[in-house]
Symmetry: C2
Subunit: 537 residues, 2 copies
Amino acid sequence: MFQNLSSDTTTKKSDKASTARLRGNVAVRLIGQPLQPFDRPSIPSNLRIHHEPESTSLTDRLGGTYSLEYDSLNENVKKCQYAVRGELYLRASELQKEGKKIIFTNVGNPHALGQKPLTFPRQVVALCQAPFLLDDPNVGMLFSADAIERAKHYLSLTSGGLGAYKVAEFIQRRLSASYLSYHNDPELIFLTDGASKGVMQILNCVIRGAGDGILVPVPQYPLYSATISLLGGSLVPYYLDESENWGLDVNNLRQSVSQARSQGISVRAMVIINPGNPTGQCLSEANLREILRFCYSEKLVLLGDEVYQQNIYQDERPFISSKKVLMDMGSPFSKEVQLVSFHTVSKGYWGECGQRGGYFEMTNFPPRVVEEIYKVASIALSPNVSAQIFMGLMVSSPKPGDISYDQFTRESKGILESLRRRAKIMTDGFNSCKNAVCNFTEGAMYSFPQIQLPPGALQAAKQAGKVPDVFYCLKLLEATGISTVPGSGFGQKEGVFHLRTTILPAEEEMPEIMDSFKKFNDEFMTQYDNNFGYSRM
Amino acid sequence: MFQNLSSDTTTKKSDKASTARLRGNVAVRLIGQPLQPFDRPSIPSNLRIHHEPESTSLTDRLGGTYSLEYDSLNENVKKCQYAVRGELYLRASELQKEGKKIIFTNVGNPHALGQKPLTFPRQVVALCQAPFLLDDPNVGMLFSADAIERAKHYLSLTSGGLGAYKVAEFIQRRLSASYLSYHNDPELIFLTDGASKGVMQILNCVIRGAGDGILVPVPQYPLYSATISLLGGSLVPYYLDESENWGLDVNNLRQSVSQARSQGISVRAMVIINPGNPTGQCLSEANLREILRFCYSEKLVLLGDEVYQQNIYQDERPFISSKKVLMDMGSPFSKEVQLVSFHTVSKGYWGECGQRGGYFEMTNFPPRVVEEIYKVASIALSPNVSAQIFMGLMVSSPKPGDISYDQFTRESKGILESLRRRAKIMTDGFNSCKNAVCNFTEGAMYSFPQIQLPPGALQAAKQAGKVPDVFYCLKLLEATGISTVPGSGFGQKEGVFHLRTTILPAEEEMPEIMDSFKKFNDEFMTQYDNNFGYSRM
């Protein structure tokens, strides 16, 4: 159990300082810092933080142990890996407390890095939160007329306003009729507290035990690996091809499925993240057709994580929803492939992460199954209502002629065009380094350069007891304040290292950030590469 | 598998009309109606809605079945019971669509029944949602100066505002220092999207499998029974004593624990709901001490569901937090009993259900365990930020001298005093019926009268294929529009029937509602009681 894969050496001591630090670590993780996803190292090796038993454990006291100790926790909770959080994020937070300037590019959290909220939606939600404002004759001095009208309209449809448990039917109907949907049934649209909760709900229905496998791309956003662990299922990886711009090859899929089946795993579902996270690639229509055919022939439920669908930075492959492609394929596919599509208010040009709003849409789900999903969803009563309003606004934003249209368009375009420029700045910046190869960020919010590390660095990492990319990222952090997530958190091929950073820092700061990175990287390479040439292991 | 415990006769047909109705049922459950909790019938019998296989199932098609059918769902999802939702709530929604006036007294959802939100908090949150308002010179025309100041303060502490993933440390600190806490550590306070999510997180850590038992009061709020099912654990019931105003007798606890252990179950934790739901009883300090001693000697984690702590309608037993009692008991209890306390913004006099805000506080949890809980919580990134603001406002409301103090006090007192009056109106109203016995609603938001049903009614219920209290509640609904939840949804002794209604309808409508109930009840009794005397089975 105590495999020393962690290099967090402080946790090996059981003295007071260590306990304090541990508590400090926990404190730091809890307190008001931007959060980063808990990332999983290269599959299948795990990186865990291990602790010596606390010296104040009840084994030393009269009365024996606590009922709930580490050892008596649900095993799946312990197995569930979000390992990298500890090292990079903790270190970044510690350094920040010590006064170092940290650039938190570790999580897709746009507003935390200065992106401004869109004005119109915030006006509407503010009015919905404070409906008494609408009775004030002066309300027009602070709010635009169309925001006032929209708020009145929404309030008329939500009896009890934002304070009542409510699933907003009119939003489900709007979603079903929107460009996001395609011949859809409002009853099959479930509003959720963010897309992640929806993913967990669906996986919880699918996974019956360790014998159930879920196909997950590698690299992947570790919501999937962590949730599958937590639910006691099996993750069946399929590798994206870095040399093909992280393209998906159906042969890889077939191979993964065969291998899983030969191990007695029943492969139940497949996840695609489109655009990808951390990889950013956008699937073509042909790709989607291939995938849907594959799901049809292999009887897989397709989970289409489409949360970044507004974040597209190239014109060759615009976003097309899996739902649309499926419907266009016609029978038998359109009637038989089971699909769940996920979307959110957290990403795109809205970036409203803190509101926790999202939804999923089911296709070809039998009523009895929908009912069970609904039953479980109802235990938590309803998703938060202001986020539902954001979702409604997202699919019903100001139209030409509306008072707020110009402002809304200007704000949205401004954000998207800047993201596109930043995607390029980062990609080019990484590619200008001899030891980095970076696929272009076609979509989403991240850059995921491959960093080729010289043998000297691999050796130093080993001596420090750290996974090489963690070692590199820690050095980067300490030298520059840039807080990234090592590629091992997302999965990568053995011996190939990456880091993930967001493209979210303010555009005017980007050149300096990239220069800072390059300076660090040159120094790192100089330090660890004896020949000033280097090999990729 | 197809035990006909359901009397939803429409689901037995497999014709188109049935399918449509089924879909209609699902539609009704999904659309914008106030939700009701999914309630569990008398323990241990289950009430399930069963369906004939859909005629369009893929078993009829080329290609075989779907991957995700009812049969291949996670068993725990299917086992998880929230059965009563189907009958009462569906029927209420259908009737509402047909134009009948329905009084939804089925869920503790104050704003949906006309309770107004408190003004000051809504001003603050509205300003936080639209920070650009603070730059407008006219903001003071619509917002009070102290709300403006508070919003500025909160925004200064939440970089990225409400749109960023964030756990608000300053709110954790405020909670730890507040009257709600007692020598507490902000690191051990976890903000959540509503208290229910927190309960699920904790139970997910405790329950390793069916061998783990959780002591749950009967009657209980079925979040507990449903979650324990979902997680594959075992519910160990302890009966509250209706004749002692739903009091808790430690001997009942001991008996339940013995019985469970004799069945090989490891009893890990105990739930108390204080004030109770649906029962309303408030635990005395002596009670709490007894319970804590019991948890100490039996090594149980105590889950203290204290969400209704502001809703107290008698003066003999004011609310005392489990935490305070535990700390006051001193060593060894205060150092060894593991406690998790839950609170929310949904209840009290705030009633902000739709915001989905809450928190839990852990006492005597080893750091390694806290870390695991934090790890899993982080998968969902952060709870929604505006609800965190509500939580902060709840423990830091306007003080004497503040501009909004009088208004806030007036609004809060108005709501609480009215709730107290309504609790009495309902209790007295039920008690004025010969066949009803209703304990006084000491706290929370519900009335839970026992309804004594004559043999004729029991017979009629049997013929209709319905559990007797479901039968009664359906008749009540159809006659009066009053939508309640049958006691079988919460658990009750065999042969003893109750219904749960909220005390939330507007005070001025209460007398009419109670008259309406009494008229129905008299007619029901006349219809089904041949002797005009009746026996309790």
